[in-house]
Amino acid sequence: MYIWGMKRYITILIFTFICFVTFPTVCWADVNGIFPKDEATVDTRTINFRWVNTDPNAEYTYMLDVGNVIDSTKNYFPRVGISVPSSNGTSYAYSVPKEFGNNILWWVKYCPKNQNPCEHVLSSSIYSFNISADAVATPPVSQQQPQVKSIEDTAAPKVVKKATPPPSSSTSTPTKPKEDTTDTMAWNVNTSELSKPFSFPFKEYIGVTQWHGNTAFQKPHTGIDFGAIQKEILAIGDGEVIGKGWDSYNGKCLSGGNYLLVKHSNGMHSSYFHLQSTYVDVGKNVKKGDVLGISGNTGSWNCQPLAYHLHFETRLGRSQSTHVNPVDYIATDWSKVLTLNAKSNSGRLSGDNPHPTF
């Protein structure tokens, strides 16, 4: 009996070892009934998410949140919240859309079964896993359409447009106010982008070091600071250069450096500060997309040198006091304009950031 017991344990250990060596993902993923387990790799986009109820004395209703890891920042971004039908127990089959990428994370929120209203509590772990690049989604025939809810409160901050006044000029193109976006699934499919009058001031997407508005560093910050190092800057719309020179609003210790001011055909203005060099002169007519100069780090603050960046403003009129949030007037996919080094400096996420978590 004793020897048989030994054999049994040894056999289990050997099989566990063989399984671990042969199919490490499968063996370890199922250790606690959680799948996909943290750092696992799967070869399909259709995944039967499974988790564990560690409280045997209570039943819960669950919400499954699935998101993605944004590669460049390693920040998490929740994309979908699924109310798991109680008949499913602690599992749910979901085909992860290709748009979510291959670095996926997921977690579960739960509340006692008969709680009304249900106050979801976040589970203690967030699991990240990878989907093989060539994985194909094959949704099961019987799978019902997941119920997509906006994830509010703690799971995903709302992306809400800041109210801004319309352009003051009567000749301006009326801009349709951006829709409030409260559903995390739809936040980057914003049709109002098409009605924005201006384009991005760079040829490629460049990250931001400080957003417009009341930020952790300045109240208010009158424009957006792009972390551009000697990049070509572009006219955001047709217009005329009406200002150029060295900005020095408070002596040598507080200077915006080389700047350009452009008046656009809709009456609005755009300004560029801390430029290394400029290619246009006052009176020059420019077209949308024309190269105006090179960004730099000229100027100073508190008698100290500035970091390389472009301080970019959009204004309703000529005066800086008429500054408005460029996000509301520039048509681009702002989800691709990341906040630089936000993980180590969370203050950079502050202000009128169109995506407050990254």
């Binding site: 250990l13 370890w28 971004f77 400080q210 560093f217 603050w301 508190n302 180590s344």
Partner: protein, 200 residues
Amino acid sequence: MLMEKILIVIGMIFELISGQPHRELIPNITNPQQIIWKDIDHMLFVKDADIFEYNVVEKTLENIGTRKPNEFVGLDENGNIVLCGIEHFIIDSEDEFSTVFTVNGKELKFFPTIRPISVIGDTIVAMTAMDFLEQHYYKISIASGEIKEIEEPKNISDDNNENMALYVQKDMLGNVYLNYDTRELFRYAIRTLAHRLDSI
């Protein structure tokens, strides 16, 4: 009895072989402004005005003090809490000072606009306070007030612990997790044991 012991040993061996990292949520603390490892068993969380001490072994969180909004929390040579007050000023010339640190009633004045990122013993490590300025790092002696520019220090992130056997991570919701790697902890234990045996 023997079987249990054998199983424990085998389990430990498998645990070490697997190298699986473990993670547990630290309850009742979110979005701390500072995370300081006091020693291998204790860490400090600075959350708004409150300073909490978390016992990693007993998993208890205790409020051990307060700070003002412009104070940075550090540790002195004996592991006691020390507060570093920060004031910034707008200046008109390079002859003026734009930063004043106050530690134990002693004022330290500096031209660059800087903020502390670590206060340990007699040393303050500081960096440029404003994001849009050229970023520099400094080492300051509290005793002498001497300031010296240094290279960007490694592991300045709150999340890191030097031995990496235990480290904390924050998720996007501000929850704080304690991570530990059994294999690293085992190595750490061996190193500590060897160190103690050497010192006998």
